[in-house]
């Protein structure tokens, strides 16, 4: 399809431009750009599955934390790139496991159980570390240069965007939209819904896993509570919903907007910032389940009808 190719080319062009950032930006701005890219990739990968299917997954921080621990355990034996890949695969494997178990649940039940399973992963790792390695946290020695981390996260963000574009225009994307609209109807028209859901959920979890692995080296010391921080998952959901989880550009634009605003607020008013965030989430879920993009679309629709 022509538009798909155009979207992929646009993604590639953005990638080429953004790849120059380490030579152009100050350390502070590069860190900010890194944050934008990370949240764009997280939101894109979340929206890849949750957007069309209307599932609300809160497991993002679990995948992220697992990925981070893969790096913590393997850096030194594995090169950075391999650790990132392994982190992604760990995210996918965990998602496949929990997906096979709980994807028959819907709505709040699914949200709560994915959150709970994330906590389970967190506490399992805490327990394992304490019992077998007698440590509460790990020091990450010899991290790669900031530019390398930036390019890795950029590559992951581009891969997430490309995957989202390809899924949307593929039969997988159609199947996911059918599942979101009426799962049983999709099944009676030939979609192996269970398999499709587990596959897509698992594939989308590669990105938070790999991002966790890539970002872990930014901290010199990591412990379960810092990398399994549920805030990462909430923020991902919020960004995707704010932008419109059904759209492609929505999560990207919203990730940039949100990261910049939150960085500003976090520096100025750390407590008010969290309150604002909570309020925003509530308002969005109540009044704008389709995100800001749905406002725009509605307006276009009306304009078109006139």
């Amino acid at each position: 399809m022509k538009t798909t190719r155009e979207q992929l080319l646009a993604t590639l062009a953005c990638g080429v431009v953004l790849a120059a950032a380490p030579w152009l930006l100050s350390d502070f701005l590069l860190a900010l750009a890194l944050s934008c890219l990370m949240y764009a990739a997280l939101a894109l990968s979340w929206a890849m599955f949750c957007g069309p299917t209307n599932y609300l997954s809160l497991a993002t921080s679990a995948f992220f934390g697992l990925g981070a621990y893969v790096t913590a355990w393997s850096l030194g034996t594995l090169p950075y790139g391999a650790a990132v890949l392994a982190g992604g695969l760990a995210g996918s494997a965990f998602a496949a496991l929990i997906g096979a178990g709980v994807l028959h649940l819907r709505g709040a039940y699914f949200a709560v159980i994915t959150f709970g399973l994330g906590e389970l992963a967190l506490h399992s790792i805490t327990y394992t570390e304490k019992t077998y390695f007698h440590t509460a946290g790990r020091i990450i020695g010899d991290p790669p240069e900031n530019a390398v981390i930036y390019w890795t996260v950029l590559a992951l963000a581009l891969a997430a965007a490309a995957t989202a574009i390809l899924v949307r225009s593929s039969r997988l994307g159609t199947a996911l939209r059918g599942i979101g609209s009426d799962e049983e109807r999709a099944q009676t028209l030939g979609v192996a819904t269970r398999r499709v859901k587990v596959l897509a959920f698992s594939a989308s979890a590669f990105f938070p896993g790999a991002l966790g692995a890539a970002m872990a080296v930014r901290w010199t010391y990591i412990e379960p509570l810092s990398v399994f921080n549920p805030f990462i998952g909430f923020q991902t959901v919020l960004i995707a919903m704010l932008g419109g989880a059904q759209t492609l550009l929505g999560p990207i634009v919203s990730a940039v907007f949100f990261t910049l605003v939150s960085e500003f607020l976090r520096l100025r008013f750390p407590y008010v910032f969290l309150i604002l965030l909570g309020l925003l989430l509530i308002v969005l879920i109540l009044y704008l389940p389709g995100g800001l993009a749905s406002l725009l679309q509605r307006r276009f629709w009306r304009a078109g009808a006139r």
Binding site: S181, L189, G190
Partner: protein
């Protein structure tokens, strides 16, 4: 030579707690058959359809599609073996356009199956046959309920069925629309050799369009055969008169 049996239900039983909704029902439909399925409210018709399409696993009995035993398999397996259905309350994909709704079946259940006739191989043509070509780009949720019912047929046809299960497609349609739908169903049957099982609440209308009719009453099959003979069957008359006096006799 009798035609190939496409769908065979053997002693299908479905229970909901203590209630036996479908009670040891046997039904065989052959290539090219057009069979009506009637019965008073609560007779178990829709539940029987749920079993035939895999949506609901029967507690007992076996289901054979094209000779293959699919008992207990998921609905998508039934669909990929050529069993397509409509739902009594239209269940179109509301956010997708009418054309995307029809294409859905073509892309999944219908993907690897072949049709003998090109008219039913393309979403645009299917919409044309249904008289919905003007609505192709309209989101299905914005169509009238009557048009959603027609679209349901289109979705089922997109799945390239060997067996087509129609659940009350005529409700809410005008007489002209019902005649159109009936003609379409005959055409599908004639051109593709599809076996059709058609549930309808409007018994008289249904009797005039099918060549064979089966009657369910309190979960049991109480009659199966030529519509005129069935309409004279004392058991069938009793079942209807006992309930609400549906005008079966007028069909004769």
């Amino acid at each position: 030579m009798p035609a190939e049996v496409l769908l065979a239900a053997r002693a299908i039983t479905v229970r909901f707690g203590g209630l036996v909704a479908v009670d040891r029902v046997d039904l065989e439909v052959r290539h090219g058959e057009l069979v009506g399925l009637i019965g008073p409210n609560g007779a178990g018709k829709t539940t029987f359809f749920h079993a035939l399409s895999g949506v609901l696993e029967p507690d007992e009995g076996r289901l054979l599609v094209g000779g293959e035993d699919l008992t207990g398999r998921a609905p998508h397996v039934f669909a990929s073996h050529g069993v397509a259905r409509t739902f009594q309350t239209p269940r179109v994909f509301r956010e997708m356009t009418a054309e995307q709704n029809v294409r859905f079946g073509l892309e999944f259940a219908g993907r690897t199956r072949a049709h003998a006739h090109h008219a039913f191989d393309d979403a645009g043509t299917i919409l044309g046959v249904l008289g919905l070509e003007a609505a192709a780009e309209v989101p299905a949720g914005a169509l009238t309920p009557a048009r959603q019912r027609l679209l349901e047929i289109g979705m089922a046809l997109g799945a390239r069925p060997r067996v087509l299960l129609l659940d009350e497609i005529a409700a809410g349609l005008t007489h002209a629309e019902i005649d159109g739908a009936a003609q379409l169903i005959r055409r599908v049957r004639d051109e593709l050799g599809v076996a059709v099982i058609w549930i309808e609440h409007a018994v008289r209308m249904l009797m005039s369009h099918v060549e064979r009719v089966a009657v369910l009453h309190q979960g049991r099959k109480i009659a199966d055969g030529d519509p005129r003979a069935v309409a004279r069957d004392p058991g069938v008359i009793e079942a209807y008169l006992g309930e609400e006096g549906e005008p079966v006799r007028e069909a004769a």
